[in-house]
């Protein structure tokens, strides 16, 4: 009997040496004549332990980590293929508190399975949602998604079922499903983990969306910064075509859904859905005026569903287990689970999928273990570069769209970036203005010119020049951006800037 050893192929694990570890394991096993089956799985999302390798034993999968190539001979000496004792042995993977306390619905398979193995996917509840969908009416599929309470995980939190319903009810010979895989927000990597770690769940979700609204063509708009996800997606798509899960006759139903990955080219604004469609059409990524809504007139002027990776990857479990099952997780009007991403200066960075409602404090300390530097956490930015900075006094806010809105903050795509007390918040505010300047599509004057002015004003403030005049000027600029921008790039840059100013005035030279 060969022994199965798992070494993640996730980019973050690879960035810490997982490929070298896999090579070392294969070489030593060959030299010692051990029969090993090496599986490159996704990551379990506990990145302080990566590269985290696992071995299948009769008691379950045993984890070792973090492992460097140098550790591999010692692991063999300790009989790790039998789950042997070793200083880096972590015990059973699924008993690790960080993992065990989670509610993994969307991420149910990630880290367990071989991402590009279709048999692995199907054996682990894959394609059950599609099977159900194929026996349902379109209206019933949309109703299941509406009943689940799923709201878009890309940032705007718009109810997914309502969007699908509009596309379903807009007659047209050609409709499209677009997966927004531009994942530009710093501090986020959940889309990447899904695409690299369980690509079939995204393909299945998009296929169900296509069947639900009568769209026969799907595009995944993937950022160029994710070359590994590109390879994995293309491999999985090719397999899905061969197995009749994509193409002209999906599982013998006579229904069609085709899918193609398209690459972006390093423009943050192309994550905005109308800019994304311009880009897919081969143009500059200028944001479009709305209306018309993409659901009515989107890609090439046709009705189009645009959804985030996590939104679409949550559809299969909803169709498998029912809208009610998903809706029973969460709090208030934030239903289901959110894959939170803990990043920045944090001891235990990683992916934590849980029903909405946990407080920031629980995430930062119970899961995250505080700052990596061992210093106090001073600020966290939630929801990407357009999200507000929160001080410690707001750490008891539960993760919930409405609770965040009430404190002038956003949950966004669920990224949390942690800063310790060495951060200078005026520098961070300056960076936000600079980012807006670099990434502005240029369509509106406040965003294009205002961000350049914003950088200059922040430079003056940082140098302590004329604060009496420059602080009000900064507030005025933010007002103009808030009220005079077509999209959230200009419209929300004031969130990080003003939250930094309001919560950390001492960094701006103001006596609190």
């Amino acid at each position: 009997m060969s022994i199965t050893v798992y070494v993640p192929c996730d980019s973050s694990a690879v960035s810490l040496g997982a490929d070298l570890v896999a090579t070392a394991i294969a070489q030593i096993a060959a030299k010692r004549g051990l029969d090993i089956k090496l599986v490159r799985n996704g990551s379990r999302g506990m990145f302080w332990l990566e590269p985290l390798i696992e071995v299948a034993t009769s008691k379950g999968r045993v984890a070792y980590g973090p492992i460097q190539p140098d550790d591999v001979p010692g692991l063999f000496d300790a009989d790790f293929t039998q789950g042997g004792a070793h200083a880096l042995c972590l015990g059973l993977t699924e008993e690790l508190a960080y993992f065990k306390k989670q509610q993994r619905l969307t991420f149910a398979r990630i880290g367990k399975t071989d991402p590009i193995s279709l048999p692995d996917y199907v054996e682990n509840s894959g394609y059950r949602g599609l099977k159900n969908a194929l026996s349902m009416t379109q209206a019933d599929i949309v109703k299941a998604v509406t009943d689940s309470g799923l709201r878009g995980r890309g940032g705007a939190a718009f109810p997914t079922g309502i969007k699908w319903n509009t596309v379903l009810n807009t007659a047209s010979p050609q409709k499209y499903i677009i997966c927004n895989a531009d994942e530009g927000d710093s501090g986020t990597f959940s889309d990447r983990m899904v695409m690299e770690g369980d690509p079939f769940v995204l393909i299945e979700g998009m296929t169900i969306a296509g069947l639900a609204v009568d769209a026969t063509q799907g595009y995944i708009y993937l950022r160029i910064e994710y070359p590994h996800a590109y390879e994995v997606l293309n491999a999985a798509i090719a397999t899905a075509y061969q197995a009749g899960y994509l193409g002209d006759n999906i599982q013998g139903s006579g229904l069609t859904f085709n899918l193609e990955v398209r690459l972006g080219a390093g423009a943050y604004v192309c994550g905005e859905e109308t800019s994304l469609m311009e880009s897919l059409e081969g143009k500059r990524g200028l944001v479009r005026f709305k209306p018309p809504l993409p659901a009515i007139s989107g890609l090439f002027g046709q009705p189009t569903v645009v959804n985030n990776v996590i939104s679409l990857a949550s559809v299969p479990v909803i169709l498998d287990k029912g809208g009610d099952y998903y809706r029973d997780f969460g709090m208030g009007r934030s239903r289901g689970t959110l894959p939170v991403q803990l990043a920045g200066n944090i001891k235990r960075p990683g992916l934590v999928e849980l029903g909405f409602g946990l407080t920031l404090r629980e995430l930062l300390y119970d899961f995250g273990g505080g700052a990596a530097s061992g210093r106090p956490i001073r600020a966290v930015q939630v929801g990407g570069p357009l999200g507000a900075y929160l001080p410690e006094s707001q750490f008891d806010t539960p993760l919930d769209y409405e609770a965040f809105a009430a404190i002038w903050a956003v949950v966004g795509h669920g990224g949390i970036v942690v800063f310790d007390d060495t951060v200078n918040m005026a520098e961070m505010a300056r960076y936000s203005m600079e980012f807006c300047k670099i990434e502005s599509c240029g369509k509106c004057t406040p965003c294009r010119i205002g961000s350049t002015r914003g950088v200059e004003v922040m430079d003056d403030i940082i140098n302590g020049r004329n604060l009496d005049k420059n602080i009000p000027l900064l507030r005025d600029l933010c007002d103009t951006l808030l009220n005079g921008s077509l999209c959230a790039l200009g419209g929300m840059t004031p969130y990080p800037v003003l939250s930094a100013l309001n919560h950390f005035p001492e960094d701006f030279g103001i006596n609190a």
Partner: protein
């Protein structure tokens, strides 16, 4: 049509293979940059003609996207993350080190032509900040020392 002795497709072949896709311009530009490392200005008239666009339109698209370049890069391109999570883990100091070590600023290429340096705004490796990419290879928890070691290996590769 293929030049003898080369396995790389020519610009004309790339355009011909992709021009019938809906929204073909970005796939074509990617195809050219993948093959040549950049998009030479003399490709623009061909692309424009095949897609029935004006040269200005094609040029406008190339210049809109940060990733596309119209000058040849160094042998290796280093994409260094400047975004928030990496800043929280010492990214600003690393950036200073990288620029000093290579003797160049962002958007420049070293005099020996070995490295180009480009900023990037998140590589999705924020759980292992600070992060960088060299070619398609990704690196996490990059320190000044690990950076020096990596480029020494890459330069001799």
């Amino acid at each position: 049509m293929t030049e003898s002795g080369t396995t790389q497709p020519t610009v004309q072949e790339i355009i011909a293979a992709l021009k019938d896709k809906p929204g073909a311009l970005l796939p074509i530009l990617h195809g050219i940059q993948d093959t040549l490392g950049y998009i030479p200005a003399d490709c623009v008239p061909d692309i424009a003609a095949e897609l029935s666009l004006s040269r200005a339109e094609v040029h406008g698209v190339i210049s809109f996207y940060h990733y596309f370049r119209d000058t040849p890069p160094g042998k290796q391109t280093i994409h260094l993350c400047r975004a928030e999570s990496c800043q929280a883990m010492g990214g600003r100091q690393l950036e200073e080190h990288v620029k000093a070590k290579l003797g160049i600023d962002f958007h420049e290429t070293t005099a020996d032509g070995k490295f180009s340096l480009e900023p990037v705004y998140c590589l999705g490796n924020c759980a292992c900040s600070p992060a960088m990419q060299i070619g398609k290879a990704i690196y996490g928890r990059v320190s000044a020392d690990s950076f020096d070691a990596t480029i020494t290996t890459e330069a001799s590769a």
